[in-house]
């Protein structure tokens, strides 16, 4: 760990991540509460069994946004968004945008922490106070990010296969109550309902914005685009499977009335005779690990942002942001407020990472910032 704090030296040349690691960071950042709520939120908009098409479309939309962000970041090799934005918009505007972005990460972190507490408190630890659920979680995240981006990426690489295996296992076991009829007819009401839901599903894929920051850490930045695309494709698969299995079992009408449809899916079948009869523990383990991953990235991105913005060592920010995130997580008063917070965050993401990078890219092209090929 380098204690050196000049922002230019912030990116320790040893603290690099490989291309697969980048993709996995993106994947872990995308997968979050969406696994549990996407079937409902999407079905509410689409109202037909074609939700899975909406999911794919949403993913594609996000891919486009991701490519824009990658292109933008590649113009400034070795620098994170916080560092290079001032070259496009000037010092004060860039500070403002960076602060907004930091705020976004903080909000998202609080949201993740709170969602975790809600679901864990509901299914696993009824009776445990929220702070006792959130605090150890945050402390472990702090411990991890003190090591920089490298340990973070490595931990994600370990969590990822566990997640995928358990998730696929659990999803395919639910074939027991799966009814293909619930997914038919395909495009029965035309394409319009599918398009209505794209906004919701695209927002479920928020995550690639992290490329604005971690591209600076990549060993092979020219592969960043590939990493981002892979990083979105895999969540597309996972989300599609989730949506298909959940709606197949619960039907569209059934999905919209349940708070956490995916959890209900897993809890509604029992395979007697297999070691665990009930598999919701597996899904919950996977989900907790994913939430941890997302939360950690948020924490790190925000700390990094503040430290690069104010040109100070990153450690005090890591510590200092903990109570901030905690307070944010305690803001929503009930679960509806939590969902509303999620919506708000989604809208912010739309502006901040949908429109803004495109805008900045255009401005930078106009300004003629040189495309440094740095290999």
């Amino acid at each position: 760990m380098i204690k050196g704090s000049e922002s230019e030296v912030m990116i320790n040349s040893k603290d690099r991540i490989t291309t697969p690691q980048t993709a996995i960071v993106v994947i872990n950042f995308i997968l979050g509460t969406g696994i549990l709520t996407l079937p409902r939120t999407a079905a509410e908009q689409v109202k037909t069994p074609d939700v899975w098409l909406t999911v794919i479309l949403g993913g594609i939309v996000t891919m486009i946004a991701a490519i824009i962000m990658v292109k933008l970041s590649r113009k400034f090799p070795g620098k994170t968004f916080y560092q290079y934005s001032k070259e496009i918009t000037g010092k004060w505007l860039s500070k403002l945008i960076s602060l907004l972005m930091i705020g976004y990460f903080l909000l998202l972190g609080g949201f993740h922490a709170r969602s975790l507490a809600e679901v864990t408190g509901y299914l696993l630890l009824e009776g445990t106070p929220t702070w006792a659920i959130i605090m150890p979680f945050m402390w472990i995240s702090l411990y991890l990010i003190r090591g920089g981006i490298n340990p973070i990426a490595r931990l994600f690489e370990i969590i990822f296969p566990i997640t995928v295996i358990l998730f696929l296992l659990v999803a395919f076991m639910s074939i027991k109550i799966f009814e293909i009829d619930n997914l038919r007819p395909v495009l029965g009401s035309g394409v319009l309902p599918v398009l209505k839901g794209v906004k919701t599903t695209a927002l479920a894929f928020t995550g690639p914005e992290i490329m604005l920051i971690i591209l600076a850490f990549m060993k092979e930045p020219h592969k960043a685009g590939k990493a981002a695309l892979v990083g979105i494709t895999i969540p597309i698969f996972i989300y599609v499977i989730t949506v298909v299995m959940v709606i197949g079992a619960l039907s569209i009408d059934g999905v919209v009335i349940r708070t956490w449809p995916t959890l209900d899916l897993i809890r509604s079948f029992e395979l007697t005779g297999l070691i665990f009869e009930r598999f919701d523990s597996l899904l919950l383990v996977v989900w907790i690990m994913q939430m941890f991953a997302s939360f950690t990235i948020n924490h790190y991105a925000a700390s990094l942002g503040l430290s690069q913005l104010f040109q100070k060592n990153i450690h005090p920010f890591m510590y200092g942001l903990l109570p901030v995130i905690y307070l944010i997580s305690m803001i929503p008063k009930n679960i509806n407020d939590v969902f509303k917070l999620g919506d708000v965050i989604g809208n912010i993401a739309l502006v901040l990472f949908g429109f803004l990078p495109l805008l900045l890219l255009i401005i930078s092209k106009i300004k003629g910032v040189k495309y440094e090929t740095n290999l």
């Binding site: 472990i140 991890l144 090591g147 370990i158 009930r278 907790i288």
Partner: protein
């Protein structure tokens, strides 16, 4: 005639030496730590240092027919008496005037250390030292010091012969298939084992000394053409930093050179087997051998190495892969089973199969303790039993372990202190932990198991997940001599996984691990 001349020359030398002695009497103090060419002075200085020891012997004699006084100093028991008598005393006390009848003999300078060294002494290991302290330390390690009147540096002759045991299979790392050879306590035996196992190109053995008072020899071994020079440099740097009186076992070395002393995981591997060391060297690692202990160190080390055994490679690849899988499962089981038991029983009875839950309720309803206390009780009992089993004499030890476990478990169930399910779980855990080849990792896992149990008792399954995340975060941050501890699992490099959880056929493992940054990455054919 010639003899007469010779005698007079010698007398002259003797007078000369006496004069010198008179002159030097005044300067004796500042030369007390230097070996002088004045024999009596030097002898006095040495006797001051170590003369009081009953096993240090001083043998004064006259060199051949020259009349020059000399003395040897040696320690009985440490030095090879045979060698001293046959090759030192007899060569020096012999009348070598006959063999070397040359005019040179008549010249004072001819009786130089050069002459003695190159033509008289039939000893292979001869060194020159200038300081009294060096003389004493060498003598105390088994060498013989030869002091000659008129010759300034003392000659140290390598005659140490330490008693060692025969080479036998290491007790702690027995294999079903593999060489039944283990290191011994003698460093020279060990280095000979390394060299002797095939003509290894470029095997470098570099000697160091550790310990300020009890100086021990330490050898750093590596294959020059393969290893990353930065690694060697780092290892040597850390070794030279060791600042202790005595370094009795390689464990001390391990603790003083490892990266993170707070971690529960060992960052240096120790082994008694030469074949493990050679395999490691071939991968570009560095080995450290210490005199006085059969345990050699290997650095750097990664987590996956802790779960590997040389046997994996001696067997064919399918059994090798299968057994490796078993080991990984054993690790997971031994670490998490009691914690999961506590989590499910105390927090989430809804997550276990119904029939199982009912039978657990039935058997546990008589037990007065909550699941955590039960589990702690049984685990601690097993740990104590295990430690006790190590100290008991060989014939009783293993039997005690098995019998003790069974009987105590059974009795505890009958007494209603623990539930039978727990006995099974604890037994499973204990057996799984025996499947781990490296003892030091086994200990770490035992400790971790307790921490997992505590986490489970506070926050149930969530606590277990958090514990897993914490442990993995730690592992992921840990480095051993610059190599990330969790390589080659992360970062992903598909080619590295041929040897991780599976053991691919030998034909496929052509390259050395990338994480070692080796200079020569092909395993030559």
């Amino acid at each position: 005639m010639k003899v007469k001349k010779w005698r007079s020359t010698i007398k002259k030398i003797g007078n000369h030496a006496n004069e010198k002695e008179n002159k030097q009497e005044f300067t004796s103090q500042n030369s007390s730590n230097h070996v002088t060419d004045h024999l009596a002075l030097t002898l006095k200085a040495v006797k001051n240092e170590i003369g009081h020891n009953s096993d240090v012997h001083f043998r004064e004699f006259i060199i051949g027919r020259t009349g020059i006084q000399a003395a040897i100093i040696f320690v009985e028991g440490l030095s090879d008496k045979d060698l001293i008598e046959k090759h030192i005393l007899s060569s020096l006390m012999a009348d070598f005037s006959k063999e070397y009848q040359q005019d040179q003999l008549y010249v004072k300078e001819s009786l130089s250390k050069q002459f003695i060294k190159s033509q008289v002494l039939s000893i292979s290991d001869v060194e020159e030292v200038h300081f009294i302290k060096e003389v004493t330390s060498k003598v105390l390690t088994g060498s013989t010091a030869l002091l000659i009147d008129g010759i300034s540096p003392a000659l140290i002759l390598g005659t140490s012969k330490v008693k060692t045991r025969t080479i036998e299979e290491p007790v702690s790392e027995a294999l079903v298939r593999g060489p039944r050879v283990g290191f011994t306590e003698s460093l020279s035996d060990n280095t000979s084992l390394l060299r002797g196992s095939g003509d290894i190109e470029n095997l470098s053995l570099v000697k160091f000394q550790v310990g300020k008072r009890s100086k021990k020899d330490l050898v750093v071994a590596y294959i020059k053409e393969i290893v990353d020079p930065e690694l060697v440099e780092e290892v040597e740097k850390r070794i030279t930093k060791i600042d202790l009186d005595n370094v009795p076992e390689s464990g001390y070395v391990e603790q003083l050179i490892e990266d993170n002393y707070l971690s529960l995981f060992p960052q240096v591997q120790n082994t008694e087997r030469p074949d493990r060391v050679i395999a490691a060297l071939m991968e570009g690692r560095v080995a450290i051998l210490l005199d006085g202990t059969p345990f050699a160190l290997i650095a750097p080390v990664t987590f996956s190495m802790m779960l590997q055994s040389p046997e994996d490679y001696y067997e064919r690849w399918i059994p090798g892969t299968f057994i490796r899988f078993l080991r990984y499962i054993a690790v997971v089981l031994s670490l998490f089973t009691p914690a999961l038991y506590i989590a499910f029983i105390s927090f989430h009875p809804g997550m276990i199969p119904t029939k199982l839950a009912i039978s657990i309720i039935g058997t546990k309803s008589g037990v007065p303790f909550p699941a955590l206390i039960e589990a702690l009780f049984m685990e601690i009992a097993i740990e104590i039993l295990r430690e006790a089993g190590l100290r008991l004499p060989k014939p009783i030890g293993p039997a005690m372990g098995i019998v003790g476990g069974l009987i105590i478990g059974e009795a505890a169930v009958q007494a209603g202190i623990v539930s039978p399910i727990l006995v099974i779980i604890v037994a499973l855990t204990a057996i799984s932990s025996f499947a781990i080849p490296q003892y030091s990792v086994g200990i770490s896992l035992r400790i971790l198991r307790f921490i997992a149990m505590l986490c489970a008792a506070i926050l149930g399954l969530y606590g277990v997940v958090l514990f897993f995340l914490f442990m993995t975060s730690h592992l992921v941050k840990l480095k051993s001599f610059g190599v990330s501890y969790m390589s080659p699992a992360v970062p992903y490099r598909l080619s590295e996984w041929k040897d991780l959880m599976v053991r691919m056929p030998l034909m496929m493992m052509k390259r050395r691990p990338k994480m070692m940054h080796t200079k020569d990455s092909l395993r030559k054919g």
